[in-house]
């Protein structure tokens, strides 16, 4: 690697340095825009005792869900359990530690980590189990709780296109948590559908500047659809 070329050639290289007990921030909303091949690489590596921060944990057989089978995950920080029975089972049985976090708070925690903000106040979760043990404060007549940012040893991200400098463009709702995740990893690894040369992406329309990105790899994606819903053709 030299200069700003961040392209790596193998998934092994992409995830090198990942160790037992680390924290991983993962982009994706269910199976939409999830870094599916990076997740498969983690499964293959067999890394254990992971803390995973992601909106949900994929489905039972796809996405992050595949890391639950071999008990690679010690703790999940997520907003949603639904659509993954194994997640719910391990949570109910106490095998898996779970920190249920409101979706907006989760997105903001990742952004804050990347932006040097260690904590922020939010109304979300005030007076609910989410507020337990957290500082509360009344500001201008409204109640808020203090939430802390959340940083990962690794961030795993799925983008549509990258240039070799790691500038990223996302596509449609596959963007979701990916841009924030990209800012919150000590090492940020991105898999993309297409790698282009620097200068090919419009600078005004780069969603994630390359400064946040450490490694880029081109992958092939299955893109499983969770709820295929259609209307009849006219």
């Amino acid at each position: 690697m030299s200069g700003f070329n961040k392209v790596v050639e193998s998934y092994e290289e992409a995830m090198s340095g990942l160790e037992d007990g680390m924290t991983i921030i993962a982009g994706g909303f269910g199976l939409c825009g999830n870094p599916e091949n990076l997740i498969k690489e983690i499964k293959k590596k067999g890394t254990k005792g992971l803390t995973i921060v992601s909106n949900n944990c994929g489905t039972t057989n796809h996405g992050l869900g595949i890391l639950l089978h071999d008990k690679q995950v010690k703790k999940m920080v997520a907003s949603y359990v639904g659509e993954n029975e194994e997640f719910e089972r391990q949570m109910m049985s106490g095998e898996l530690e779970v920190e249920l976090t409101p979706q907006g708070t989760l997105a903001e925690k990742m952004r804050a980590a990347g932006a040097g903000i260690p904590a922020f106040f939010t109304a979300t979760g005030y007076g609910t189990p989410v507020a337990e043990g957290k500082e509360t404060r009344e500001i201008n007549g409204r109640h808020y709780i203090l939430e802390e940012s959340i940083k990962g040893d690794f961030a795993i991200v799925k983008a549509w296109k990258a240039d070799t400098y790691g500038n990223l463009v996302f596509r449609k709702t596959a963007r979701n948590f990916n841009p924030m995740a990209a800012t919150a990893g000590k090492i940020t690894v991105v898999e993309v559908e297409e790698i282009v040369q620097p200068g090919e992406l419009d600078p005004d329309h780069i969603h994630t500047p390359g400064i946040y990105v450490d490694r880029v790899i081109k992958g092939n994606f299955e893109k499983v659809i969770e709820q295929r819903t259609t209307r009849p053709s006219a």
């Binding site: 949900n56 907003s79 359990v81 907006g104 989760l106 979300t124 969603h207």
Partner: protein, 219 residues
């Protein structure tokens, strides 16, 4: 007669105003989109990063990268915009969404809402619901008035873990449309053919009943 799912959606749709940005939760709220009154335009926000959600795609239009918060494939309406989850919840938490419609297990006359878990039985997670109820001024909760066993879901105090505290002001059930203020439920309208007595019987929290309770009308 208790309202059907479709009627619930229809009644909520009467609350829509021209130019409203609206977030519709999973389930009954989603159906509201089918009953937008004539001459009115609304724009649907999907918290996974889409403002201007369109109808379901045809087979040819299906795109794995374009889903709604219920993870269903969707399309975009003209003038739609896409953004990341932090931006999406900035909109929601910053109070920019005009109307939020969502379901619940229980509400109480303090405006509390419980919707995301039943300890020991069911853990779905709150998803974006805690953000939605904390961020919006204008929320309509849609739910059945009572359980299948006749237990009221409109309580003096919620028994399940809360999704939000003191944030609900309007509840539409299959039996009635109610407002919550000053620590009480206030009966505004009743479903066609449903008696005030029945509503009183199935409302566990304190209920204020005015002299005249009009029936809902559907056009």
């Amino acid at each position: 007669m208790a309202l059907s799912r479709e009627q619930l959606a229809q009644r909520v749709a009467q609350e829509l105003q021209d130019g409203y940005y609206v977030n519709l939760g999973i389930g009954i709220p989603t159906l509201v989109a089918n009953y937008v009154p004539k001459g009115i335009e609304v724009m649907l926000q999907s918290e996974n990063g889409l403002l201007g959600m369109g109808q379901f795609p045809t087979d040819d239009e299906v795109d794995a990268d374009l889903i709604n918060a219920g993870k269903q494939t969707v399309t975009m309406a003209t003038g739609a915009s896409l953004f990341d989850s932090a931006e999406s919840f900035a909109m929601i938490r910053g109070g920019h969404v005009d109307l939020t419609v969502l379901g619940a297990f229980e509400v109480d006359c303090q405006g509390n809402i419980a919707s995301y878990m039943i300890p020991g039985k069911l853990i779905k997670g709150m998803g974006g619901a805690m953000d939605l109820v904390a961020g919006a001024d204008n929320i309509i909760v849609t739910m059945t008035h009572a359980s299948k066993h006749g237990e009221s879901k409109l309580l003096a105090e919620c028994t399940l873990p809360l999704t939000g505290k003191g944030c609900i002001k309007k509840v539409l059930t299959d039996l009635a449309f109610l407002e919550i203020k000053e620590g009480k439920f206030h009966l505004l309208e009743r479903a066609p053919g449903v008696s005030v007595d029945e509503i009183v019987k199935l409302t566990a929290g304190e209920l204020v009943v005015p002299d005249n309770v009009p029936e809902m009308t559907f056009s």
